[in-house]
């Protein structure tokens, strides 16, 4: 962890203009992200989690403070949203290779890369399916594959499993954990699920209710690779209790 952080956020604040003096969404947020970190922001709804991700993704400008990337280069970003947000007019294959098309990669090469992703997320045989024929979990797998296909420097996950049922969600945690092990990406995730944050992240930062502030940072020293059993260990329980206590 002596290397330069790839992302530094300093004194970030966001105020959305509204009729009574502005809505204070985020207040004085500072943190650093190093290469291959898996960082998770944990907070109740209204803590500005999504706003934070949108700023990092460059979709929104902060009211004050800085977001700077290493060497001032705009990183390649992969993003997974609460809903899969697939293009319904594209097949699974075509949805996944979209980021490559945008980069101007030639068709045959893009298909090969997309095919690799399809295998990684376990969607073999569904290449030509339409999004409307996919279950929620499958659609979200496509979303994850799409976020990884162009080999992004930074992966942003915005409550990626919030729309899934509990069982599918837990299965996806294991999947994502495995994919992260394989791809070794730098990940910033936001969630309101304590279990999700502990199962996946190295580092959990707890945000307060509006305006969102960093209240607590917890290092998750659970061994990897993590599987289902880890959630029933006493250490997991201890960390969970600590996080639970920090969320009002």
């Amino acid at each position: 962890m002596t290397a330069k952080p790839i992302l530094t956020v300093k004194n970030l604040s966001v105020i959305f203009p509204d009729s009574n003096g502005g809505l204070h969404a985020l207040d004085d947020i500072s943190f650093e992200v190093h290469s291959r970190d898996f960082i998770c922001f944990l907070g109740p709804s209204g803590s500005g989690k999504t706003t934070l991700l949108r700023i990092i993704a460059g979709l929104l400008q902060p009211s004050s403070g800085q977001v700077s990337f290493v060497d001032n280069l705009q990183p390649k970003i992969g993003m997974v949203f609460q809903q899969a947000h697939l293009m319904p007019w594209r097949t699974v294959m075509d949805n996944i290779k979209l980021p490559l098309e945008l980069e101007g990669m030639d068709e045959s090469q893009a298909r090969i890369k997309a095919q690799e992703m399809i295998e990684l997320v376990g969607l073999n045989g569904f290449e030509d399916s339409w999004p409307r024929d996919l279950s929620g979990g499958m659609a979200q797998r496509v979303g994850i594959a799409r976020s990884l296909v162009h080999d992004p420097d930074l992966l942003l996950l915005d409550e990626p499993f919030a729309s899934l049922d509990a069982l599918t969600r837990e299965r996806m945690w294991v999947e994502l954990s495995r994919i992260w092990q394989v791809k070794q990406k730098t990940v910033i995730m936001v969630t309101h699920s304590i279990n999700e944050s502990l199962f996946l992240a190295d580092d959990v930062l707890v945000l307060t209710q509006r305006p969102g502030k960093i209240k607590l940072e917890v290092k998750v020293d659970l061994p990897r690779p993590r599987n289902d059993d880890i959630r029933y260990t006493s250490h997991f329980g201890k960390l969970a209790r600590k996080l639970r206590g920090a969320i009002e």
């Binding site: 460059g58 992969g78 594209r90």
Partner: protein
Amino acid sequence: MKPSFSHWLGLFSIILGVFAWELIVRLSGLPRFILPSPLDVWMRLLKSLADGSLLYHTSITLLEITLGLAVGVTFATLLGYMLAKSRSLEKVLSPYLVASQAIPVVAIAPLLVIWLGHGIISKVVICALIVFFPVLVNTVVGVRAVPPALYDMMHSLRASRWQVMSKLEVPASLPVLLGGLRIGATLSVIGAIVGELVDAKEGLGFLLKVGDFQYDTSMVFVAVIMLVALALALYGIVTLLEKRFLKWQHTPS
């Protein structure tokens, strides 16, 4: 099994209609120049096909419709896209656009013929005008309905403006746009005929008028049938386009 049965049902209904028509002609004893029989119309159709006049006039009308559609759809989608993207432009233009819809095209058709002459240009313009509004409205609705989340997704991938348009906005608004085209296509036939009825030396509208003047009622029927055929063909083409481009919406394969 089912679709072929309903196909036959349609055909059966047409045959029944022709029989009813024949029956009315016989029972009422109306003279031919008021109500020709199906056979009279059929003979007139063959005759006008044989001397080439029907195909010639149909081709003129078809040319007007095609050009009118092309011009109307091009302008409507371009302006519609700009309106969808800019609320202020919409505010500036919408009084004119709404006012233009309050005036029936039939009412300004004579004006256009005076200004643009009785050649095909005036008909093309009338056609384009009548097609313009439904396509414009549907373009605006379609582009505005693009899910904001997909814009976020595209922007997070650093998509250019052109990429956002070609890979997101156009395909996302295509269903609504084709819905507008479906309405526009049938309206365009009306546009061309309205223009031709005002003043023309050729086209199906001209044929209608000639038939009318000469009490050649069978000719009028033939022209009307051709118009219906044109409208159906255009409608069919739009349906084919929908099948081709919107297959992701239809029954799973």
